[in-house]
Structures are given as C-alpha cells and as structure tokens.
Amino acid sequence: MKSGETMLPRARIPYGTWGSSYFPAWQTSPLAEVNIGQFAGEASSRILGIRKVPKDELEYLVIGSTIPWHWKFWTAPLVSSCLGKRLPGYHVEQACATGLQATLVAAGEVQNGACDVVGVVTFDRTSDSPVGVFPERRSYERTVALSDVWDNFGFDPATGNAMITTAGIAARKYRLDRKEVDELAFHRHQQYFAAKESGFLGRFLVPLEVLNVQGRALGTVDEDTGVRRLTLESLRAMRELDNCVTGGTQTHASDGMAMLLVTSPEKARQLSPRPEIDIQFIAKTEVRTLPSLMPEAPTVTVQKLLERTGLTMKDMAVVKNHNPFAVNDAIFAHVMEYDWHNMNNTGCPLVWGHPQGPTLTRVLIEALEEAVDLGGGYVLVFGCAAGDVGIAAILKVSEGR
C-alpha cells in the first residue's frame, strides 16, 4: 500500500452528523433502567434531528453492542424501528473494538456500492447486565450461570486470566514504573477536564432526558458521572490491584451510546453542516498478541498499520486510543518512542469509562473533532479488545475541497 492511499475511496464520514450520549458510570444514571437498544435507537433519531439530518436519509444500519439486551435477536431492524425508520441491517460485536469495527464495516457497505448512507449505532449497558444460564453437560455443575459483564471481565476462557491480570503481566513485561503510570493517568484526567471546560465535549455529547414507563422524567443523562478530579497524590496513594494497576489507572464500567454516519462523498457533502470537510478512511488492521498481553496488542497493531501504509507517527495529527488501563498508553509510548503527553488530548476511556460497544465510536468522534480543530491531517485511532486483540485505523481529515 502506498503512503496515504485510501482503502475505501467511496466511503466518507460526514462531519458533524454524529453524536454520543454522555457515559455515566454503571448504576449511577437512568440508563441503568432502560432497554439500551431502544434507547440507542431513539437517541440516534434525536441526535440526527439536532444535526438536521432527516432519518429518512438512512438506507442501512449497522449496530454494535457486546452485552445482551432485551430483544437483541432482532438486532439492527429493531433498533432502526426505535429510531423511527424501518431499515435492514446487522449487528457487529467485537468487545471494545466494536465501535471502530462497526464503523469500518459500514464503510465497507458504502464502498461496495450497496448503499450511500449507513447509520452506525453502538451502545451497551453494563449496569444490571443479564445473567445467561447455559446447559453445559461437560461441566460438573451441568448448568452454568454467567453474569455477562463481570464474569467475562474476570475470566478469559482461552487463558484463564482476568482482564486486569493482562495489565499486570504487560506492565511487568515492559518494566513499567508505577510512578510514570500514575503521572500518565493524572495527565489524562487533566486533559479530559480541560476539554470539558473548553466546551469541546458539548459539540458531540448530547444531553438526553430519559422517561419512565409512565412517560415522566426519570432523569437527564448530561454528565459522564463517575469521573472524578483526581490529584496526583491521591493516585499515588491508591492500593495496587496488580502491577501498576490501581482504581485510578484503570477505567470503570459505564453505560451509553454513540452514533455516526458513513456515506458516499456526495451524501457527505449534502448532509454535513460543513461540507468542505472531507473525512476518508485510509487503512485498518488488527493483531492478536500472545496470551494475556492485551495492553500491548494496540501497540503491535499500530506498528503493523504504519508498516503497511508507509506512514509514521510523525504524520499523525491526532492520536487517540481506547485505554482501559493507563498501562496501555505507557507501553505504546515506550515502544513507539512517542510522548504520551501528545495523545488523547481531549479525554479517553481511561477517564470517561468503558461501556464497550460505543467506546471506540466516541473515541473516533472525539479524534475527528480534534483533527478538524487542527485544520485536518491523519487521525490514528486504536485500542485493545478482549482476547488480547488490538485494532487500529487511520483516517484523513481535509478541508477546503
């Protein structure tokens, strides 16, 4: 692949047609009480309404979620009904890679000429996650009950390790220093609050009032509740859960949705409030690392992606990742010889939480907004996913076309 050549020349993300709910920490908001698929559909319609995009423009819907929700069997057609437009479509699931993967497969739908406007709606509710009951004739219990979020966080069946253990193992492998990891986490919080106070987050995060079954207000989701203003001292004082991992240097479970559109170039110009902004897909790749080294997977993936595209980190205007552990960023910075102060400039999942399905969608939206502020350039978005997987993509934002 030549440097900067796009892999999906027909696909675009129309600037400013996207939006996300805030991501309240699990069990802290009315989102804990809703069918999250229904919420995501209705919220998408609301976001498109605010963005002045008629929902009738949508031709297809790709949804992304990782936690079973009521009536998930009906996947995208059901979510689209809640959005108010009966669309075909399907469901993408790849743990925390879901948001980016769903966007990329939507781009594939546009690229292959199947449609001109594809909605990407990603969502998850970690609160009160369902418990599956599985007949397992080989297990001595005969029947196994599994709490979808917490039992999976705690146990990778392929390795037998918990997620948090992979962070500890990776930190040991790269001989990370707890002091640096705390400083990194502190910096990430400062970046988030600076973005929030500047009004940056308000450009794409949409306050949404949630109704109860009687139609009365249950509350408004208008904060990333659970995000605390941590001091460096408090971070340093936290008990270590595993090597370099504390309550302050790992993310928290949260609920939410995020959506965007992927379209043809013509439709992007038609639907975007700023048609002069062009957002293209350049390249994407995935890598699976050795067992229980999930936090290094994104770094390895980015290495591969740069190698394939011929681009370098110096070419990247914006670098942003899904980082459930601060360890992820520290490894990335060491291996890529990249100053971790220069990435995740407007916040990241380490700070604002981890609702899985929509996580990388919000990361992508934030990264694109940041790139527009910078006048364009290459945008590197990447992250880790369950199973020691890394995913990375490069997009290109240009103006004035």
């Binding site: 108010g84 949404l208 009032e209 949630v210 139609g215």
Partner: protein, 697 residues
Amino acid sequence: MANTSMRQSTLETLGLGSVLDIFARGQLPVTASDLVDEVFGEPARRGSLVISGANGIVGAGKAMQLGSRLRPFDVPIVALDFANAPDGIGKHYGGLVRAFGRERASKIMEGITRLSYDGKHLPPRLKDSQPRFLLEAIPEVLDIKKSHYEIFRAEFPHIEIRSVTSGFPSSQLGVPIAHPAFPHEVNKVWEIIEPQPSRITQLFWALGLIPTPVSDHWSFVLDVLFCGLTLAGLRYHPATNMPFWKIDKYIRRQLGPNPFRAHDAIGAKGANFLTWSCLHHLAEHYGDLFKPTEDLDQRRESGQNWYPPNHFRPVVNWKMQDGEQTEFEAWISGALIQMTSLMLHEARAHLSHLNIIGELCAQFRHGILADIRRLGADAAINTVHAYQVLHPQAAKSAWYPDVFEQIEGVDWQQLYVNAEHDGSVGVITVGRESYNHDVDAELNRAIDWLKAARVERVIITGDFHLSTQMIGADTDDFFPALQDETKGRDIARSWSETARRLHDEFRCSVAFVNGKRCLGGFLELMMHCHYMVAVATAELGMPEVTLPVVPGMEGCHWPFRKAKPEEWPRLLGLLLTGELVRANDTVGWLVDYAGPVNEALKTAWKIVTEREHDVPRRVVEDGPLKGLGSQVSDVAGPSGSDADAARRAIVDTVLASCQATLAESIAIQAKHSARFMTGEHCRRGVVGAAFKKTMTV
C-alpha cells in the same frame, strides 16, 4: 320594524328561521313528532329507516344514535349488511346499556331489525318495513355506492337517501350527504350536503342532533381540519425526526387535538386509510398542500399504530430547543391556516359552523377561525408564508390570502355570539357550550350592538343549534391563572363586569335556559339577568367545588342578593355540594319561571315585551346582607382534603362578598376566586391536572 341581526343565525341555514322568531311565536319552528310523520309516514303507516353497512363503525354507531332517538316515535330501523359482516351492532350494546339502562337499551334494540343481503339483491322481507329513508354507510367505492342506490331506487322509488361518505361530493354520488362526526354513537354533529334544507335535516335538529350544512366539495370541514392537522404533524416528522407521539403532545399544547392518538384510538388500520383517502382525494383536486406523506402511505398499508406499542413506551424525551417552537408553529398552524383559506374561499360553510366543527368534533381548544382572528390577518398570512418556505410545494396551489381581508367583518367577529332585534326586543344567542374569552368579547360586542340600536329589553339564551347545553366556564382559560393571581383576578373581574351589563344596561333582561343543563360560569352569567326562565327539565348547578375552584362570576353573592334569607341554605347547598337540580325545583330562589318549552318561550316573551305576566321580579340587594352564617359543616359534598378546602374557601367567599356592598363585592369575589386558583388544591384538581397534561410537554 323588520327583524335584524348582527349576522345570519345558524338556525337559518337549516331553514328554521331566527331565534327571535322562536320567542315571538312562542314555539319551536318544528317538532320531532311532526317531522317523523313527514319523513316516515303517519303512525299507522310508519315506514322504516334502513341503515346499510350497519355493522361498520359508522353504521353501527348511527344505528345506536338514531335508534335511541327515534324509539319514542316507533320508527322501525333495519340494519342491513353482508351475512359475514362482524357484529358491529352487538358490540355497541354495552354502551347503550350504560347510557340508557338495561330496560331502555333493550327497547331500543327491539326496534332494530337486522337483515342480511348479498350486496346485489335486497332481501324480500325488507319490503315489509316500508323503507322511507336509507342511510348508506357502505365502503368508500364510488361504483359500489352508485349501484347500491340503484337497487334501492328500483325497489323503493320514493325513498330518501343520504350517504355518510367520508369524502365523495354529492355531485359524484348523485345523492345528498349526511356525514357524521366520530364517535358515531354519541357525536351529534353531521355535515349536511343538500340543495335546500330538507325535512330529514330538520328532523335531525328536532331530535337534538347538530346538522350543519356545508357546500358540495371534496371532503368535509371536519376532515379537512383533522386530516389536515394530521398531515401537518406528518410533515413535521421527517423535517425534524421528532417521533409522532411527541409531535402529538406539542400539537395538543398548541391547538388541543391529539391527531395521532386519535387514529390509534379509533383503530389505526381504518383511520389511517380514511385519512389517507381524504388527503389523496384532496391532493388530486387541490395539489400538494394535501399530498399524503410516505409515512402515511406506509401506514395505510400496514395499519400500524402511530404511538409505540406498550412494551416500547418511549425512553428518550424530546424537547424543543431555541427557535424550534416558532418553526413548529409554522409547520402546524401554517398548514391549517392555508387549508382554512381554501375552505373560506369555497364558502364551505357558515363561518360559525366552520369554526365550531373543530371544537365539537376534534378537540380543538378554540375554533380555527377564532384562532386566526386572534392572530390577525397579517400574522396569519405570514405564518402561511413561513410554512411555505419550509414546504415549498404547498405554495403552488390552494392558497387564498385575500379571504382574511374580511377578518374585521361581523361574520368573523361574531363566531360564537349573535344578536337579533325587532327594534324593541333583542335576543342574544350563545353558540358555544362553555364560556371563554372569545364568548366574553363577542357578548360585549353584541350588547354594544343592541345598545347602539337603543334596544332596552333583551333575552340571552343558547343558539338553539350549535350549543345544546351551557356547561360553564372553559377551564382552559384558567391555565394562566394557576400561576398568576392577577390573571385570575382579571378574568373573574372582567367576566363579571360583562355579566353585570345584562343587569345594569337593559331595562329588562331575561335569561332563557333551553338546553339540557346550565352550569357554573354560564349559570352565573344568566343569573345576572333580571329574570331567569328555564325549561322545567333543564339541570342547573354550580359544580366548581368538584373541580375544585371558587366561582368567579359572582355566584357566591349575586343569587343571595336576589333570594329571601330562608332560601339561602339552598343556594349554599348548590355551591357546596356541586349537585345539579332540576330547574323546576328552583323556582323562586334561582329561576323565576320553569315550565314546558313552549310555555317557557311564551313566558320569556311576555316578560321581555312587558306584557302581562305573573312572574315577580326579584330585586338585587345593593347593601351588605345580614344574617348569613356559615353552614359548611351541615352540607355534604365531594370528599377529600381538596374539596374540603374548596368548601371552606367558598364559604369564606360567600361571607366576604355578601357582607360587602354590591359595588365592592365584584372585587372581593374576584380576589377570592383568583387566590384559590393559585393554591395547591386547585393545582391538584381537574384544572391543574388538565394544565399539566396539556401544557407541560
């Protein structure tokens, strides 16, 4: 001097003369008994009413409504339908029992004979019932309807036919039209299309129904308004993505109706089709203003409800942001005003009819013309222009801004209240069942008009047509007063001042209660007249305590000032229980005469023309009343803390206003009424709940 009127009485559109004539003659222009004989034949040769398509929604509803009203005259009713039609009539029996009791319901059903046919041949037994009047309610297919009339005419050449069609003009059908409004078993309004008012139309009136003549165009006034409003909401939907359920609530706040909820309540499958059909025909004739949207096309096919199913009750609320409300008003009101301009241009109906149909049949809070009048011609035209910017296709046709040049004319200005006089006696007629700011303003203009003609004697009454009862103040007008005491005081004070004009500015004023009931604010208005004459069976009452509110139009002192002290407990009982009483039982302490309708008419006329009569004039006491004690503990009434509080407030108001002079009492009553309205008891009651449901979106 010949009779003259502010504007044409709506009664005249039925060929029934003027209201002044009714009083001058001392009798109603026609009677149901005479008209039944004319339409169905003398009792010995009584023919039948045939309702075809009798198991459909319209047919079954009208079988119940006309069956119950024609039962006293022994008119047989034949309900005709296909053998395999689902039993629509049986479905209504429960409602009939609830309305009339089991015995009367059974009697009504006894009068209905159900016959089946194949659609091509009439059953031989039909002849036995001597059909005289066919009310056709079969499916909306023009050719089928026409052949239906042919087979009836072939068998019964003199039969009168009326189609209930949902949209075809009479010129297409070849028969006159009697198009009823939903819900068919209870709604009294029919839009009538016929060259001249017929005996059938007059019979409908005599039976207590509300026939309203309209011109022969595609669709009907109600359908243009209701389907048009639905269409306006449908167009707003793709423009903003706002879901239908939320658009419905904003429409309700703006105008009153819930068009999407109504479709679901009626049955989306049928209602979606009828709305589509209405709009489709209108679009063919008048252009894109009426073109059904893609959503309606789809739901006509699918019959899908507009509101989400119960298991998908909405979770994300929608609230309008800055500027969106103005755009919403343009989408909704702009479309309606443009559609109304078309109906005005075509002179589809008497303006009072055109105005009131939406209120009586589609839950419009105000008539469409009253709303446009309030807006003013320029603002109305600008609203349409704003709509046409949003929906440019609408600008291509069916837009007649010139019609609003007449807005200052009397036909526009007197939509609800009319006045007639013969040079010495005037009659003021009110054509709205509840008293609101529009009625108040129009009543003042009617009084001014009579005063300008030096008319010193006046009767105030219902209009014998559109208003079949007077149910009191329109509580929607109280909404601003729930939060602002000065607003409540202004309403109570200004409406009381209007009422006092009936007492102060005429040598003789007579209130004539001719409908089923006269309650609350309307009763307070009427009691200001020097005399009150009522049909004996009319029910009177002051139900404010049940809402609860405190009466604001001087009901807490005016009647006491006219009654003897020994009658005061009765008046207090009326106020504190909210119970209704027959006019017959209130002679001497509330009304001055009660009797059969013709006797009451004659008596009212005698009084107002100052001929010999034996009805004493009760004088209003100017000074403070003495000896009025609190008897709240002795009076039973609605229970609960809110009602208790209202009773206490009413007693306080009675004591305070009666112990003042007449001049002082108007302000005292207004203050007490307004203060209670801003309190927690009123907010928790009917008015507060209506406000919350309607205005907080």
